[in-house]
């Protein structure tokens, strides 16, 4: 099964020795892999930069550019750093193996290479690459190009940094009863429409959706890239989301389908942003008091009877560009002191005249 999955995968084989090259190519072709060959590191890099490969099989001892130098070049190349590399060499000494692994090689096989071992290692490397590609595709689909780029550059490094930004939580009101009132297919379709509309509003204002769960989402403004007016951008995105939901509801009503209502909570300030999770499964997110507050404000929209609630820091960040209604201090779970809460006014979304 696994063998079939990797059939047709494209490999580049680099070896200056003709006998080694022919034999390895033969072994790989017998496994159903598509093999191209290069006689030294320099030629190999040129080929890697002009054609797509799934795996590199690399010799170390080579004239012009040896395997160590190839590994160093690959690590520096954003496009090629994720290409799996299996080193095949008859170079002796554990230090050479260690050096290859440290330079980013996936595996090291002693020559003469045992074909069965080679097959197993190639299968494992291609499987890892497939998972990585899948992860990248997910990132591409669920994040902005900026986040995708940041993730590439940091190499999905876990760990965080402090950022200044705004967090938004948005949720469909009464979703559970809504889901019970219609067939499951329609519920999923409704969710997909809602996510499409929300993603669009968020990303058009410079935010990223960092998490989605059921009928809710969390969006970040100001991370991973700084956003000068993150407070304004977040509130404008929220107002646009409401407008979109209203348009959507007109359509729903016309089709005799249920309408939806949403609640949005926004808070701003210091956060720790980064990739959390394990090396196998990680997500870009923010944590901290600001995030908790945004989540609580979203929950509080039901109590306050408003669709959007923001905190004092966000309101100050608006600098009067959007009118807000002060709802007074509110006791929020997890906060010792009552928090000043504000509701942006919908009818004054236009920039104030000079």
């Amino acid at each position: 099964m696994r063998e079939g999955a990797h059939r047709g995968a494209r490999l580049l084989l680099v070896d200056d020795n003709k006998v080694n090259r022919l034999l390895l190519a033969r072994n790989l072709e017998l496994q159903g892999l598509d093999v191209a060959a290069a006689a030294n590191g320099r030629v190999a890099l040129e080929m890697l930069r002009s054609e797509a490969f799934d795996l590199l099989l690399l010799d170390i001892e080579m004239p012009e550019m040896n395997g160590f130098q190839v590994l160093e070049q690959l690590a520096k190349d954003l496009q090629l750093r994720d290409l799996p590399v299996i080193v095949t060499s008859s170079l002796e000494g554990l230090d050479n193996v260690v050096r290859c692994i440290e330079l980013g090689a996936e595996d090291y096989l002693q020559k003469p290479v045992n074909p069965v071992l080679l097959k197993a290692r190639i299968g494992a490397s291609l499987e890892k690459k497939r998972l990585r590609d899948q992860q990248k595709e997910l990132v591409r689909r669920f994040a902005t190009p900026e986040v995708a780029q940041d993730m590439q550059e940091s190499g999905f490094a876990l760990g965080g940094r402090r950022v200044e930004g705004s967090v938004m939580f948005a949720d469909i009101r009464g979703f559970t009863s809504l889901a019970e009132s219609q067939p499951p297919e329609e519920t999923i379709e409704l969710l997909n429409t809602w996510y499409t509309l929300m993603f669009d509003a968020i990303s058009s204002h410079g935010g990223i959706v960092s998490q989605i769960a059921g009928d809710g989402l969390m969006a970040l403004f100001g991370a991973p890239l700084p956003l000068p007016d993150h407070c304004g951008a977040t509130v404008r995105a929220a107002l646009e989301m409401l407008e979109m939901i209203e348009l959507f509801n007109v359509e729903q009503a016309g089709a005799g389908k249920p309408q939806i209502r949403i609640g949005i909570g926004i808070a701003s300030g210091d956060m720790v942003a980064g990739y959390t999770g394990t090396n196998e499964r990680a997500t870009y997110t923010c944590i901290g008091d600001t995030v908790n507050l945004a989540s609580r404000l979203e929950a509080h929209t039901k109590v306050a009877g408003r669709q959007i609630l923001i905190d004092g820091v966000t309101r100050a960040g608006l600098g009067g560009s959007i009118d807000v209604e002060a709802l007074g201090p509110v006791s929020i779970r997890g906060k010792a002191q009552p928090v000043d809460v504000y509701a942006p006014k919908r009818n004054l979304t236009e920039p104030s005249p000079p």
Binding site: N17, V19, L22, R26, L30, S90, K111, P112
Partner: protein, 115 residues
């Protein structure tokens, strides 16, 4: 005779995994390439070029082991790891011995490949 030069088990395994016809071609390639590697080794020795010397010996070791020419492989390995010094002390004798062993290997491989 062949058994001392070529480890037949290794050679047969190579044939079984890569195919007899392919191994015949591979032997032909080796018989073309190896004299050039031996010449390179001699040149590097004469020029006192340690890096080239090590690399040529390394290639011969690698190919020798592939075909089961374990003695040739071991001799080349000694040159690869030992460097120029010991060969200079022995006034090039190990190179001559390596060339003689290669002649035996070439003959044995030719026979085995056609068998």
């Amino acid at each position: 005779m062949i058994n001392r030069t070529i480890d037949v088990a290794t050679f047969e395994e190579l044939k079984a995994t890569a195919g007899a016809e392919f191994v015949r071609e591979l032997v032909d390639t080796f018989l073309v390439e190896a004299p050039a590697m031996l010449a390179e080794l001699r040149d590097a020795f004469a020029a006192g070029d340690a890096e080239r010397f090590r690399r040529s010996a390394h290639s011969l070791k690698s190919n020798g082991n592939t075909f089961g020419a374990l003695t040739l492989g071991a001799m080349a390995r000694e040159l690869e790891l030992g460097g120029l010094g010991p060969v200079q002390q022995a006034r090039g004798a190990p190179l001559a011995a390596l060339a003689r062993e290669y002649q035996l290997v070439a003959q044995a491989l030719t026979e085995l490949a056609r068998a």
